[in-house]
């Protein structure tokens, strides 16, 4: 049973919904001394799709790695009402589906089936259930007939889809995607945007693709220098030329 904390109930633009991701005053320093996160606080409500933008080195990826405990900084991270502690890690890793930028890092098994089955198998599910979940996940991303294919024979667009399936099969509630549209040709990018729009999940998507942000996300968070510098309605943020320029972002019209 998820525990409902009073402070996770927040008001946002869409009315009052419980926050499923709750980050408060998070600091993180890499072993080489770089301060990557310098007091990040943000909340994402259930079902919300949020874009995370900012220049390279702003701390976007570092923040994402905190969401399922791959990195642990100082501060408070709660996911689905669970605070990020050692006991909760397996549960939280099941809730947050991390999709890394490079699908060759995400798809480490020889076949597509093995990769999509990896998560559910390691959650300890019985084989029948695993098979069912793999089928469903692949159907969701439109790659049903690729189950027995070898990952290295797929195109980049197909690899991205399979990478998303690898976390859908875990029944993740929250998708954390790192630059999903990077390196895709226009058609693959278009179909990925369609896929993201249709998936009924909470999403936090780090990206440089401002056109995709405008098209897909109602809310945008701007990060720079390890801090959240703006957080709000996408249309408002994208209209703020001064803000975009100050943080190295541009929107071509």
């Amino acid at each position: 049973m998820p525990i409902q904390h009073a402070e996770t109930i927040i008001d946002n633009l869409n009315g009052s919904r419980p926050a499923t991701v709750h980050v408060a005053n998070l600091h993180f320093r890499y072993p080489d001394g770089t301060l990557a996160l310098n007091g990040v606080s943000l909340q994402v409500a259930h079902g919300e799709k949020v874009a995370l933008v900012g220049p390279n080195g702003a701390g976007k990826s570092t923040l994402m790695l905190h969401l399922n405990g791959l990195l642990q900084g100082e501060g408070n991270v709660e996911v689905g009402g669970l605070s990020l502690t050692k006991e909760h890690l397996p549960l939280i890793r099941g809730k947050v589906g991390m999709v890394f930028q490079n699908p060759d890092d995400q798809l480490f098994s020889p076949t597509v089936f093995d990769d999509v089955a990896f998560g559910p198998l390691h959650m300890g599910l019985p084989e029948e259930e695993v098979r069912k979940r793999v089928q469903n996940a692949l159907a969701h991303v439109g790659m049903s007939d690729a189950a027995s294919r070898l990952s290295h024979h797929l195109s980049i667009g197909q690899k991205k889809r399979v990478a998303i399936a690898t976390v859908l099969s875990m029944d993740a509630e929250i998708l954390a995607l790192d630059e999903p549209s990077a390196g895709l040709d226009p058609r693959a990018r278009r179909s990925l945007i369609g896929l993201l729009r249709e998936l009924p999940l909470t999403m936090l998507v780090s990206t440089h693709d401002m056109m995709m942000v405008r098209e897909l996300f109602a809310r945008t968070i701007v990060m720079d220098g390890g801090r959240v510098v703006a957080d709000g309605d996408t249309a408002t943020i994208l209209a703020d030329q001064a803000l975009l320029e100050a943080h190295g972002l541009e929107l071509m019209v």
Binding site: L65, N68, L70, P90, R93, G94, V96, M98, F100, N102, D104, D105, Q106, L107, F108, S109, P110, T111, F113, D114, A117, F118, G119, L121, H122, M123, E127, V130, R131, L150, S151, H152, H153, T166, V167, M170
Partner: protein, 265 residues
């Protein structure tokens, strides 16, 4: 861009051999190799019979007749390591070479032993080629895993297979980047001097290592993010059928015959 076919030994097909359970194929291959190893020297009819089995199996797998033969030459140089037995076996000298201080003589027994070693390794290599040509690599790994080969070893082979392609692509990109900057001038040839080339090649190997090392960290992260806690789990997509049992029994009988023939002659 993709270097897929460079390493893939698998020949797509849908023959009786292709459809056999990979575990059965691995076991038969191992038995075949062991059988070759324990045949006595000079058991030519038995070696010929083993070759006959191979030819039959490759025909059943609908491989081109010369396929196994062509690929097997690749492994032959390794058999040359046994060349010393030519000179060290006691027996009737067939040919001798006088060197200052000593004589090198090829004996008849040495020749028989050398030819037998050649036959054993050549037959075994062909069988292994047949196995990899008719079994998809992931199936091969499942077979090993479910034949109780330690999980870590299978996992290492699996990662090696998966990232060989990624690495080869990366190496290809580095080579291209070097080629693109190895311009020639009107006076000299392009490509630079040998020492320079060697230094660039060395740096590239280092680059590849660093990149792979960093990648390994990201891959590990991706595994942990999906619940990896130190034990790799896989599912066996295969079920042993009556046909598989029959094939295994048949292989055992044939190998037993070969052994009897080899030892009684």
């Amino acid at each position: 861009m993709s270097t897929g076919s460079t390493f893939d030994r698998y020949q797509h097909g849908d023959s009786a051999i292709h459809r056999l359970d990979p575990r059965v194929k691995v076991v038969i291959t191992l038995l075949f190799i062991v059988s070759n190893v324990i045949l006595p020297d000079g058991a030519w009819p038995a070696f010929a019979a083993a070759w006959g089995v191979l030819i039959l199996a490759s025909a059943l797998a609908r491989l081109a007749p010369a396929f196994l033969l062509r690929r097997s030459f690749l492994a032959l140089p390794f058999a040359l390591a046994a060349v010393t037995v030519l000179f060290t076996q006691p027996g009737q000298p067939l040919w001798s070479l006088r060197l200052p201080g000593s004589t090198l003589a090829i004996s008849d027994a040495g020749l028989v032993r050398f030819a037998s070693i050649l036959a054993r390794s050549w037959l075994s290599v062909q069988m292994a080629i047949l196995l990899t040509a008719t079994t998809q690599f992931p199936d091969l790994m499942h077979a090993l895993r479910h034949l109780r080969v330690p999980g870590v070893i299978v996992a290492i082979i699996g990662f090696m297979y998966r990232y060989l392609f990624v690495l080869a692509d990366e190496a290809g990109r580095l080579l291209r980047a070097r080629a693109a900057r190895s311009a020639g001038t009107a006076r000299g040839s392009g490509g630079g001097r040998l020492v320079w080339r060697a230094r660039v090649a060395g740096a590239m190997v280092g680059q590849l290592f660093v990149r792979s090392f960093e990648r390994s960290e990201r891959v590990y992260n991706a595994m942990v993010a999906r619940g990896y806690r130190g034990h790799l789990l896989t599912m066996s997509p295969h079920v042993i059928t009556q046909r598989d049992r029959l094939a295994l029994a048949l292989a055992l009988i044939v190998l037993a015959f070969i052994q009897v023939a080899g030892h009684s002659l």
